[in-house]
């Protein structure tokens, strides 16, 4: 029998705010344990939560970016369970009236080849709700320590419909979602810091069957690569169970990305009864049109929208766009360079093959770079105008990247100014080149045009790279035509 996998994801994204979800204490990472706490975070007797409006702004922004309906009224519920990482032994969350409903994440499926755009697909979302993160347990051999620094950090949970059918789709979903959240300034989504965490609900069913199979929840998928590996592994496991004639049991499994093995955490019978009820300490939140309008002013372009625009407005090839669009700053850098230089295709090439290469070699992010779009644009114009030969331009780029100096200044510093158009020097270099290579001359005269490159190399060597390639070509052809 042929089976298909059905996958739904629950993605937790920490919202980057100055203070915590329900108290004024700072939200942060990597600090001395239990220093980012106060009476509210530690759940001291008498402490009460107060909603962080910046976190609401961020989740509304996320919802609008993902095409969700923003609920006019949402409320807060308590999810009750005992665990030492939860100071109140309940988590403030949103149960049946979340702030965002519906929406979708656009993904690109793998194309026929690397340079061919794959089919796009919309993965529908069920909801997004806002809640608070829990603390962290560090287990020792004989005891466990709790750090409440993370407790109370604003956290949104993005729940997809069970609408993906492969690990690749899940991977594409997370990549697109992460890019959107980073580009919206909502979260840094650093999975190593736990700023993005993913659980997957996975089931299989015979192809053609519309009912869902028994789902298994896979937890602790703590890198995007592990999400793909874990889902792949779980689909294979379920297929193997089915093929043996076994029954898939509803359970929660833990996937270990290092070993590639999953094991059962708890069965359905062991599932918690969270005893959700409305939090009496908090009032429902009303989101009106004015609020939405204010957030709409600040919505970034979604990556695939940007890709469509880059292809349409700049006639960029698909492969270039798929490098640029996932980084908002890089896209802005490109557009600035294209605007100033008037040469979008060359601008994209210099950014992808020059800038990204230099950044990679230097291990720097764009924000740390000294090079500016006007620098790259200046280079692009010089090269396009034949004022700077390609090899020299690369050296200039490297120096501009290193120093942040203007290309013109670097050219002067390195003595790379092109020689004048028809100097006697150039005439001499060309004569020497032709004279020193009779074989190439014979080839050229017998009709092999590419033989001229042999002379060009010689001229450039004599000119130590400073000759204008177009001038070299012109003078060589003039002299050759007379021979």
């Amino acid at each position: 029998m042929n089976y298909e996998a059905v996958i739904g994801l629950e993605v937790h994204v920490q919202i980057r705010t100055r203070s915590k979800m329900f108290s004024a204490v700072e939200a942060g990472f990597g600090r001395e344990p239990n220093t980012l706490t106060d009476a509210v975070v530690l759940a001291l007797p008498g402490a009460l939560p107060v909603i962080n409006k910046a976190a609401l702004d961020a989740v509304i922004k996320a919802g609008l970016m993902l095409g969700c309906r923003i609920a006019p009224v949402c409320k807060w519920d308590r999810k009750n369970y005992f665990y030492p990482d939860s100071p109140k032994n309940y988590q403030i969350s949103q149960y049946d009236q979340p702030i965002c409903l519906g929406g979708q994440v656009e993904i690109e499926q793998p194309g026929a080849a690397r340079n061919v755009m794959g089919e796009h697909k919309s993965i529908p979302l069920t909801r997004i709700h806002l809640e608070e993160d829990v603390g962290k347990l560090n287990h020792g051999t004989s005891d466990s320590l709790v750090d409440y620094n993370r407790a109370g950090t604003p956290l949104m949970e993005i729940v997809s419909e069970p609408a993906m059918h492969s690990a690749d789709e899940a991977y594409a979903f997370l990549t697109a979602l992460r890019a959107a959240m980073v580009q919206g300034g909502i979260s840094d989504c650093d999975m190593e810091k736990g700023q993005l965490r993913c659980d997957a609900n996975i089931s299989i069913r015979p192809v053609g069957e519309s009912r869902l199979g028994t789902k298994v929840e896979l937890k602790n998928l703590n890198s995007i690569a592990f999400v793909r590996d874990g889902i792949e592994h779980e689909i294979k496991r379920q297929l193997a169970v089915s093929e043996r004639g076994g029954v898939i049991v509803q359970e929660t499994r833990d996937y270990d990305g290092q070993t590639g093995v999953s094991q059962s955490l708890r069965s359905k019978e062991m599932a918690h009864d969270y005893r959700y009820f409305p939090d009496p300490d908090l009032m429902p939140v009303r989101v009106d049109e004015e609020w939405l309008a204010r957030i709409r002013l600040d919505l970034p372009e979604m990556p695939f929208d940007r890709q469509r625009r880059f292809i349409a407005s700049y006639q960029l090839p698909y492969t270039s766009t798929s490098v640029l669009i996932w980084d908002r700053e890089l896209s802005v850098f490109f557009e600035e360079t294209a605007r100033i230089s008037g040469q979008p295709a060359m601008a994209a090439n210099w950014i992808i093959n020059g800038l990204l290469r230099e950044m990679g070699a230097a291990g720097m992010s764009l924000g740390q770079c000294l090079i500016r779009p006007e620098h790259v644009a200046e280079l692009v114009v010089l090269v396009a105008g034949g004022k700077l030969p390609g090899p020299a331009a690369k050296d200039v780029f490297t120096e501009v990247f290193r120093t942040g100096e203007k290309p013109a200044a670097v050219i002067a510093k390195l003595g790379l100014e092109s020689t004048s158009n028809s100097g006697a020097e150039l005439e001499n270099w060309c004569r020497e080149a032709i004279a020193s290579n009779p074989k190439a001359l014979a080839d050229f005269k017998s009709g092999k045009d590419s033989a001229i490159n042999g002379f060009k190399g010689h001229v450039m060597k004599s000119a130590r790279g400073r000759a204008n390639p177009q001038d070299v070509d012109r003078v060589l052809r003039e002299q050759l035509s007379k021979l």
Binding site: G46, P49, N80, P84, L282
Partner: protein, 488 residues
């Protein structure tokens, strides 16, 4: 009769302090002496930090000498129920769970009292976590009613009531979730006010049932209650359920509001279980208002009979979640026998909580459980809406509603301890006010033949405390109940 310092009202003492006839330090020393003389019998105080009270009294005296008095409460000690946080002082909730807990921060009411110059005065006993109607559920001690030491002071704010009635304080704060200020006020012959839900910040009040809890004053007179309420009321950004309302000068308002008022008598509050002497005292009070020119109208609150049931579902559901934080992990009682984390929870909570608290946690956990939520919690919330609607309907016709505060006067220690249901019915007249979020005021309206105080409850419209206090004072002026003191 009220000539001793400890017997005087806040208004009198404020006047004497202002005229420099008395220093705050003298006042504090007089109350310390009184406490030393009677508290081994009354048992109202869980603890008292005399040194810090004296230091603050001297600071107040210095302010007054420098012409920088902060107003009528400057230098006045205000007793605090042991669920209201004071930085550096114990916050036990009369529970073994918090027996050694020191609060690192001030509740908002404490901050406000300090801003008015008042002095936090002791940690007053209560039923553990404010759950009870007699203060017998305290893990610390059983507080006695100063009018009859064989009887309970009521609860849960029994320590706040008894301390004031015994002259160990001149005003105190309690908290009221289902009657925990008004019922002990009635049992101890005091004025006790539960403000409108949202008028007084709950920040720093150990939560029992968040949607019902309110802090309010116990006072000897309506005027004193108005003074204290004025100091603690007002919006607080730390409490999301706190209301953005203007706080009037309640004491000044008392002088302005003269009636006559339209007063409602709900027939459902005068049925089975009402002690005849209480009924008679309330009837006389009603007649008195009639004599003042007030219109008396019978009103109906038809959903009253469902109040106790709805209350014990909502209050226990909230408490089961609110008290989950007491787990022995970060603070509070931690069992020494525990073998693992689950065992730590079980043992710490088994050892730390008393039987009534456990009963309510179990009940609340049950009503929120999957499959029972709709039948219990959701239905109770609907009843709550209907009860509020009953009151609001009645307020179309009347300015305030008069009822007995409690069905009986103070009962004997141990009398109802074995029968939780009988104990729950002590709150039958006070619970509706909490469910509806309304202000309720208990004022003394006489004594039984056995010399026990009886309370009259006045229920007002939301945020109409000024009117409610004026109506209460109109009655108080014509009687001398509030001038009487128990013989101790």
């Amino acid at each position: 009769m009220a000539s001793e310092i400890h017997d005087q009202t806040v208004a009198e003492l404020a006047g004497r302090l202002a005229r420099r006839e008395l220093s705050s330090e003298e006042l504090v020393r007089a109350l310390l002496a009184r406490k030393d003389a009677v508290d081994d019998r009354v048992k109202a105080f869980n603890s008292l930090d005399a040194d810090s009270a004296l230091a603050e009294a001297r600071a107040s005296d210095a302010r007054r000498s420098a012409g920088q008095s902060r107003g009528p409460l400057d230098g006045i000690p205000i007793g605090l129920k042991d669920v209201i946080a004071v930085a550096g002082q114990p916050l036990t909730a009369s529970s073994r769970m918090l027996a050694n807990f020191i609060s690192p921060y001030d509740a908002t009411v404490t901050v406000k009292l300090r801003a008015a110059g008042a002095i936090p005065w002791g940690r007053l006993n209560l039923d553990e976590f404010a759950m009870g109607s007699s203060t017998e559920n305290s893990a610390m001690q059983t507080t006695r009613n100063p009018w009859d030491l064989s009887r309970v002071p009521g609860g849960s704010s029994g320590g706040s009531a008894a301390a004031l009635a015994a002259g160990e304080a001149v005003a105190t704060l309690g908290s009221d979730t289902g009657g925990s200020i008004r019922q002990p006020a009635a049992f101890c012959g005091l004025v006790g006010l539960k403000p409108t839900y949202g008028l007084v910040s709950r920040y720093g009040l150990v939560a029992f049932a968040s949607s019902l809890d309110q802090i309010g004053p116990f006072a000897r007179t309506v005027e004193d209650a108005a003074i204290v309420l004025g100091a603690i009321a007002g919006h607080d950004a730390r409490d999301s359920t706190s209301f953005r309302a203007d706080v009037p000068d309640y004491r000044e308002e008392l002088k302005q509001r003269r009636g006559p008022w339209r007063l409602g008598i709900p027939k459902e509050y005068f049925g089975e279980g009402l002690d005849p002497e209480v009924a008679a005292a309330v009837a006389k009070a009603v007649a008195y208002y009639q004599g003042l020119g007030c219109t008396i109208k019978e009103v109906s609150l038809p959903h009253t009979e469902y109040g106790v049931g709805a209350y014990y579902i909502i209050a226990t559901a909230e408490c089961s979640s609110n008290l989950a934080r007491f787990d022995g992990i970060r603070y509070g009682h931690r069992s020494k026998q525990a073998t693992d984390v689950v065992d730590l929870y079980f043992r710490s909570r088994a050892e730390g909580f008393g039987p009534e608290v456990k009963r309510r946690i179990i009940l609340g956990t049950y009503v929120l459980s999957s499959g029972y939520y709709d039948a219990f919690y959701l239905r109770a919330q609907k009843v709550r809406t209907l009860i509020r609607q009953d009151f609001l309907n009645a307020f179309h016709e009347v300015d305030a509603i008069l009822t007995p505060t409690a069905p009986t006067p103070a009962f004997r220690v141990g009398e109802k301890a074995a029968n939780p249901l009988a104990m729950y019915l002590c709150d039958v007249y006070t619970i509706g006010v909490n469910l509806a979020g309304l202000p309720g005021n208990s004022v003394p309206c006489g004594f039984t033949s056995g010399g026990l105080p009886v309370g009259l409850q006045l229920i007002g419209q939301p945020f109409q405390e000024a009117e409610l206090l004026a109506i209460a004072q109109a009655y108080e002026r014509g009687h001398d109940w509030t001038a009487r003191r128990p013989a101790l």
